[in-house]
């Protein structure tokens, strides 16, 4: 069973989600099955099933879209196992992400998505990815390499699948691909790769609001820490939680037009953290297709740096709104930045120096917007 949630009201639009998380690859390095002679440096993974579960948890607990409430979730995990519903603890056996299971679950998901033109279709994949030709990612199912004679039959041809989805009625479509897009040297030597399109493209090309969001650029890597959620999925969930939202008609909305940009910004910011590999997402998002309506305004991280940086040790900072102090940022000793988490708004930042070694005669106006705000305040050293 792969359908972990299904609640569809007749003639109404819904959000249908298909989630794949592959960490077990029996035919790749350290796999338990008959291994490929040349597994192209592809190993077993731990973070994709964890990330896929985290994404499913978020969808079940938080997704709110009055125009297209959650209708169904298809989940495939490798290794196969149990999924425990975060709300009521109900357990679901979840099938492995073999190509056969992917095709079967995809067909169910496609048909549901295709049922109403105002549906929202969400496709999420986390696992091994390769890319021989720019813009043509290959997503590897659990049983990739099962047959050395037909190596690519258990890899998803994402581009063809995406083009095929133009046949689907669902007006809003989102594709989240958390996988590498590298070309191992072995791939360069192969003349033609025929992977599996889950739906074949046709002449019909009717697109609505679409977001394609890749964890990384072409020829680059995507990362996750062992036994933890991947960098991309973590950023994606943070953005769905509100850091990827924008205010429209008094509501904070996560849309196809904004989500990709903010996920990219968050990952680029975390690239600066120590011992963190570089990863830059790529996205192609159009329109204002609503994915999620936030229940409250997002809490936005704020980083304030003083220039010169030495002044930080002598300062005290406060954020004001209409003359009232609403928050006091705290100094992070390792980065020497003042940090806070506040609601989106305009603030006046006041910098005091109790020992009068520096001064800042004027308050600094700060526009705090998701996904984060960084500000540098120049202060004057007093002789």
């Amino acid at each position: 069973m792969t359908t972990i949630f299904e609640k569809i009201e007749k003639d109404k639009a819904h959000t249908h989600v298909f989630i794949i998380g592959v960490g077990k690859y029996p035919h790749l390095l350290n796999g338990e099955g008959t291994k490929l002679d040349n597994p192209m440096g592809l190993r077993q993974l731990t973070s994709p099933p964890i990330s896929a579960k985290a994404f499913a948890d978020w969808i079940l607990k938080n997704l709110y879209n009055p125009d297209a409430p959650l209708g169904s979730i298809e989940l495939l995990l490798s290794p196969a196992g149990e999924y425990v519903q975060p709300q009521d603890g109900e357990q679901f056996p979840v099938e492995g992400a073999t190509m056969e299971n992917i095709k079967t679950a995809f067909d169910r998901w496609y048909n549901r998505c295709n049922f109403h033109k105002n549906n929202v279709a969400i496709f999420y994949f986390c696992g091994h990815g390769l890319e021989k030709i720019v813009g043509y990612p290959l997503l590897l199912a659990e049983d990739f390499g099962k047959n050395q004679l037909r190596l690519w039959e258990n890899a998803i041809d994402f581009n063809s699948t995406y083009l095929g989805m133009a046949r689907c009625q669902a007006k809003t479509q989102c594709y989240f691909i958390d996988a590498c897009r590298q070309t191992p040297s072995e791939l360069q030597e192969i003349q033609e790769i025929r992977a599996t399109a889950l739906v074949h493209p046709s002449t019909s090309q009717k697109w609505g609001e679409v977001l394609k969001l890749f964890a990384t650029h072409t020829s680059q890597k995507a990362y996750g820490l062992n036994d933890q959620i991947t960098r991309f999925t973590d950023a994606l969930i943070n953005c769905l939680n509100g850091l990827g939202s924008e205010k429209q008609k008094k509501q904070w909305l996560v849309t196809t037009g904004k989500l990709g940009l903010n996920v990219t910004k968050i990952l680029e910011k975390s690239n600066k953290e120590p011992n963190t590999p570089q990863q830059k997402p790529e996205f192609n998002g159009t329109g204002i297709g609503i994915i999620h309506v936030c229940s409250k305004p997002p809490s936005v991280p704020v980083d304030i740096a003083l220039n010169p940086i030495e002044a930080s040790n002598f300062a005290k900072l406060s954020l004001f709104q209409t003359g009232t102090c609403v928050s006091e940022p705290q100094l992070d000793l390792s980065s020497q930045k003042w940090k806070d988490i506040v609601l989106p708004n305009v603030y006046s930042c006041r910098t005091y120096f109790p020992l009068s070694k520096y001064c800042n005669p004027e308050d600094t106006e700060m526009w705090v917007q998701p996904p984060y705000t960084e500000e540098e305040i120049e202060v004057i050293k007093l002789v």
Binding site: K35, G41, P184, K221, Y223, N226
Partner: protein
């Protein structure tokens, strides 16, 4: 703390010079320097290049029989020479050549793969290769003839299982810091073994292109070319080394590097290490004893060098004709400004000589590889097992 590497004969800047430097530096940091300092990554490694002042052949070595040198410089040269060194008994098969080597010795296949893969590797890849080499060498040391080789049918399978074995191997004399540092996994090919895969492809192509031709014919040409370069560089150095007041270009280059290294020494890192290969050993000995005798060197390592032979011929500026095997003092003292001197030689290296019979206070170590032409191709410093054994020798002399 600086380390100076003085290269030997026949080193000229070309396509592979930077690759060799990157690879050698990375291996020094992973092996030798780990035995001497607590933070090898902080050590500045200086590579004075004197090849431009070495011998130049007015007729481009036309005096050598042409058939003997026509293979020099060919792209296939390195894999062929290394394969020849391993002296396989069977005819080479492009699908199983690495397996043949591995069945003889896992250490040999690691040296072969790493030496070939080092060419074309940039600085970052050289670092990755050196990291892998630490585990690979330790694995080979503890598993010289692993059973899993019996189930392997071709080189692809060999590389696959070798990667698995080495990736999963925890070097036994190191403590794992896995808990301290984050372990990133890559959702695709992590690429760490890409240079090794490319090296393996290069070996395969070489074997395919060389099918049916005897490898050994090639070796004579390399030998002759090497001897010509060696003699040439020696003559150029001896005739142009200059005087203390007016040192020659090669000596000036080495002096400048020694002074640069001296400036880098501070109270926290107070050691200066010099590693010299082949003719580089003679040049550094001459420099430390005559041209710049005031500089203190903590560890001098001469590898495949001829310092003792030159002293036997009394070719150094400080050579004392009265000190011979028959004199009352029958050995030359180690230079006073060199605290520890280790000399590494290989019986099969026709340019490497022992020193203990001629010098007092030097420790000779034999690097027994069974390989024929290590010095000839300067591959000593591209071989992980050489660096591992050099580090062992340093450890032995300290204990």
């Amino acid at each position: 703390m600086p380390l100076i590497f003085v290269h030997g004969v026949n080193v000229r800047k070309g396509v592979s010079y930077d690759d060799d430097v990157n690879n050698r530096n990375a291996l020094f940091q992973r092996f030798l320097l780990k035995e001497i300092v607590s933070n090898p990554q902080k050590v500045k490694i200086l590579n004075p290049y004197w090849g431009d002042y070495g011998v130049k052949f007015a007729w481009d070595k036309k005096s050598l029989p042409q058939s003997a040198i026509e293979e020099l410089g060919s792209e296939d040269e390195l894999p062929l020479i290394l394969l020849n060194q391993i002296q396989l008994e069977q005819e080479l098969n492009s699908e199983t050549v690495l397996l043949q080597v591995a069945k003889k010795s896992i250490a040999d296949v690691i040296d072969l793969l790493w030496a070939v893969s080092a060419e074309g590797a940039d600085e970052s890849q050289a670092e990755d290769l050196a990291d892998l080499a630490v585990r690979a060498v330790d694995y080979a040391k503890h598993n010289p003839h692993p059973d899993w080789l019996n189930n392997i049918e071709n080189d692809d399978q060999l590389l696959r299982d070798l990667q698995e074995e080495i990736d999963n191997w925890q070097p036994q004399n190191t403590t794992s810091n896995a808990e301290d540092s984050p372990q990133w996994e890559v959702l695709g090919s992590d690429g760490n073994w890409n240079p090794i895969s490319r090296g393996a492809s290069r070996i395969k192509s070489t074997v395919v292109s060389w099918a049916g031709r005897p490898i050994t014919n090639n070796i004579r040409g390399v030998l002759k070319g090497e001897v010509a370069n060696f003699i040439g560089d020696v003559f150029v150095y001896l005739s142009k080394r200059g005087t203390q007041d007016e040192p020659g270009e090669i000596v000036k280059k080495i002096i400048a590097t020694l002074l640069e290294a001296k400036d880098l020494i501070n109270t926290e890192d107070d050691k200066l290490i010099v590693v010299a290969h082949s003719m580089g050993g003679n040049i550094i000995y001459d420099t430390l004893t005559h041209f710049l005798p005031d500089i203190e060197v903590d560890v001098l390592v001469t590898v495949g060098s001829q310092v003792a032979l030159f002293e036997e011929m009394k070719l150094f500026q400080v050579s004392d004709e009265t000190i011979t095997a028959q004199s009352k003092v029958n050995r030359v003292s180690k230079p006073a400004n060199v605290h520890r001197w280790i000399n590494v030689f290989d019986f099969n290296d026709f340019l490497g000589f022992a020193t203990e019979s001629v010098f007092q206070g030097v420790k000779d170590f034999e690097y027994r590889t069974g390989n024929l032409l290590l010095a000839a191709h300067n591959t000593y410093f591209n071989l992980p097992t050489f660096h591992e054994r050099l580090a062992e020798r340093i450890r032995d002399t300290e204990s």
